[in-house]
Amino acid sequence: MRELPSGAGLLDIARDVLREDLLPALPEGKRYQALMVANAMAIVMRQIEAGEGATDVERTALEVLLGFAETPSGLNSEMARRIRGGKADEVDVWQALHEIAVGKVAESNPKYR
């Protein structure tokens, strides 16, 4: 069994040190980069905490719409192809894409909106 804190827990405390101790000590010209590092760490933390949940939701939603199983990349390619060809204009397609996007935003930028 791994020691605690876990990976997400380590990132959390490391991010606190970066933001609270290091950031104020940085020259103005380096602050933006430090904020980018903190942002990257936060995204990784949320991905670790979410596990494969969002990816599973995406795969299931696309498989239901398309009617076959494939790799995530293959499913996205086929979905994109159908949409472009005008063969997927229906509400249920929009609903699935919306559900997928909501799941991704929860990891990339949960404060959006």
């Binding site: 990257a40 991704k104 959006y112």
Partner: protein, 337 residues
């Protein structure tokens, strides 16, 4: 490797002495922060004789050594600045263009140095100045007074007969060059295809007229920057790009670029152009703005992921794509049957 201050002083002094036929002193050369594509250097030039006699606070702009290909060359950008300046657009006054690469090793031009802030996150948190969105609207209208054909801008090519259709085709081409498909962006492109309004006549569009590229000081516009994407398009493309939620820097209720009221911006534009803005058609171009930014974000992310250019900024841009996709979907929700 970039240019060095000492070399700029030496070479530029020689060059300007030839051009002005008199003594010249170049001083205070400092590199300004800027993109990976161009280098900008602040410098002062003292000219002792001739029509340009006096002290000039200037910026020297040249391609960066890495030389990423962009749509316009420096001399084309210089011509765009000159043309815009003559049309009354607030831009850094262009002074001198040099295509002779024996001078500095690359092409460059000189323009007046303007001081102010472009930082979107800062402008979006400042108290509202109603005159500013009005002024930004006025300025955009002045850019749009430039209409094809203009011999000086022949490098822009012919105006597309249907700018929206041309943009949709181009963004699909960009997406096809990527390794990963993006159904939500495709959904947006499909909506844009089905809902395309009839084209209005093409005008000169800045095509990156947004908070972040507009220099402001004391609540006034001092310079419209970054002309490298300028081209003939539907004027509503610029209006939609400026107002789109993705360029409000978090100040979502300030619909004019995160710095003011949309109606103040519209009023400035309408007063200066004498034409009313079709509000509904702007919505279409705001969807287009999110799609365009999403496609560019995919390209930037791919530049990092492929190893072509390792960069934390590019890497993080990948994680802006989901919120752009969500916005595109929210703006294009189909009506339930």
């Amino acid at each position: 490797m970039g240019l060095e201050a000492a070399r700029i002083v030496e070479k530029l002094t020689d060059y300007l002495m030839q051009v002005t036929v008199g003594p010249v002193v170049v001083s205070s050369v400092v590199q300004l922060s800027g993109g990976a594509i161009q280098e900008n250097w602040a410098l002062d030039v003292d000219i002792r004789k001739g029509e340009w006699a006096g002290r000039h606070e200037l910026v020297l702009r040249c391609d960066a050594a890495s030389g990423v290909a962009t749509s316009h060359s420096r001399s084309e950008e210089f011509t765009l600045l000159k043309t815009a300046h003559r049309a009354g657009v607030t831009v850094p006054v262009p002074c001198l263009n040099c295509d002779d690469i024996s001078v500095l090793g690359r092409r460059f031009f000189l323009m007046h140095r303007v001081v102010g802030t472009t930082a979107g996150h800062r402008l979006a948190r400042q108290p509202l100045v109603p005159g500013l969105p009005y002024e930004l609207g006025q300025n955009l209208a002045r850019i749009h007074t430039l209409k094809p054909p203009l011999p000086a801008l022949s490098f822009l090519g012919d105006p597309p007969p249907h700018p929206a259709a041309a943009a949709i085709a181009l963004y699909r081409e960009y997406l096809d060059a990527l390794d990963v498909a993006h159904p939500a962006i495709e959904w947006g492109l499909r909506w844009l295809q089905v809902n395309a309004p009839a084209p209005s006549g093409a005008v000169l569009c800045h095509r990156d007229y947004r908070t972040g590229n507009l220099m402001v000081r004391d609540g006034r516009l001092v310079a419209v920057l970054d002309w490298e994407f300028a081209g003939w398009s539907d004027p509503l493309e610029d209006i939609g790009w400026f107002c789109a939620k993705c360029w409000r820097f978090g100040a979502h209720d300030r619909e004019a670029g995160g710095i003011g009221d949309r109606e103040d911006f519209y009023k400035g534009y309408e007063d200066a152009s004498g034409q009313s803005i079709d509000r509904k058609a702007v919505y279409y171009w705001e969807v287009m703005a999110h799609v365009r930014w999403a496609v560019i974000a995919c390209q930037q992310a791919a530049r990092h992921v492929s190893g072509e250019e390792r960069s934390l900024e590019l890497a993080l841009t990948a994680h802006v794509i989901p919120e752009l996709e969500l916005e595109i979907l929210d703006m294009t929700e189909p009506h339930h049957a």
